[in-house]
Symmetry: C2
Subunit: 216 residues, 2 copies
DNA sequence: GTCCATGCCCCTCAAATGGGGGATGGCGCG
DNA sequence: CGCGCCATCCCCCATTTGAGGGGCATGGAC
């Protein structure tokens, strides 16, 4: 049965067997979903991929580690078409790689798992139109939403955190003072402690720290 | 077969049928996973839930909209035990609710779907130990990682964006001037334009805007 | 051509800020 | 009981910043 028109799918990986593995997985998912035949286009390098950008793909699976370029640059280029769903496929799970990839607009981040079933599952979710992150990556994302919390090692006092939060919203000393019902001198004293403890020396840097700690 | 020891599960919802629906769904998942019997504890209000916090639960499903309190405060309290997995269960999908819930430490955000299968599925993922977000919520999260991009409607000039980026890193006027090889006066002129266009009036606010735009 | 936005430069002035100092109470801990 | 930490308040001073003013060259839009 043909549920949908044939999908155009781009697969980028410089390692031939890895590429084949991905393609097999995609085909398995397609047959499981009972979709029409899909057109799978392969690219074995960054440059090969970049010339294919404008071919009107519906899905793309991009290996991040390519010898001649960075996978997330491909993702960014592909995502100028908003309707395409793009997933990174990689062994890398370090935070910088993940953040760069998601910033590039990826809809999925698939860890190359030992068990193909897990990969199949994630591919299936993506092709069903859902964002699809491997659990470890999803956990990493969730952390970004949680307020910074290492009370054990956080040198700031409660009051200082309070001040940090307000200054981090863009309030000036006077306004913070009004908000907390204390003197503006005191606010600036707390600020001084914060500067010293966080090793910064300007409002802008404080605002950045506040963001990092999700003290919005 | 008993895969694991009996799990302790907390279910909070003020509407009786909704609670029952959730419990049925959880039971369905448990039997599907072939786990041991689970102990499900119900709470019909915020206050009821709060007295149960320390009972050593393994999972919790919390309705966000309670007459006598906010669900995410329950979540925050529960998450002082790091091993518990907590999901919000709600019809609300507005950004503030989502952000507050994730900031409180939720591991899941389940939209009360019309189709029970979808809810079952999300519950199953959570009980398998994975973060579990309804697709619409996951999409919302992903957006937060993408750089601000409305170049068409972004009033800032290239130069201003450049200045915004550097000031957003915490540099002061003089340092930005050195970096860009222009006068510090000029930097402050650009800053003035930025203030006007973005409707802000301090370094801290500029830093915040820079973060929003991911001009890191 | 005029007009206007942009990028660049300069000046001034009041307010805010960053970096010192010192001082008072309260609170916990050895 | 001191001692340290915290929170609060105060003063001083150099620098930075926010907010005005004015000018000039360029390059595209009209």
């Amino acid at each position: 049965m043909t549920g949908k028109p044939a999908a155009r799918i781009l697969v980028v990986d410089d390692i031939r067997p890895a590429r084949q593995l991905l393609i097999d997985a995609i085909n398995a998912v397609i047959s499981r979903l009972g979709q029409a035949e899909a057109t799978i286009v392969e690219a074995a390098s960054f440059t090969e991929a970049m010339v294919l950008i404008d071919q009107g793909f519906d899905f793309a699976f991009i290996d991040l580690h390519l010898p001649d370029g960075r996978g997330w640059d491909i993702i960014r280029s592909l995502k100028k078409y908003p309707d395409i769903l793009v997933a990174a496929v990689t062994v890398m799970d370090d935070r910088p790689s993940v953040e760069a990839t998601l910033a590039a607009g990826a809809d999925g981040y698939l860890i190359k798992d030992a068990e193909p079933e897990l990969l199949h599952f994630r591919i299936e979710r993506l092709m069903a139109g859902e964002p699809s992150l491997s659990p470890a990556i999803a956990r990493m994302m969730l952390e970004r939403f949680r307020p910074f919390q290492h009370p054990d090692q956080d040198p700031l006092t409660d009051r200082e955190r309070e001040v940090l939060s307000l200054v981090g919203r863009g309030l000036r000393a006077r306004e913070v003072a009004d908000q907390l019902q204390i003197s503006s001198h005191t606010v600036r004293d707390h600020l001084k402690s914060i500067y010293r403890k966080l090793d910064v020396s300007s409002r802008a840097e404080v605002a950045i720290e506040a963001q990092k700690r999700n003290l919005t």
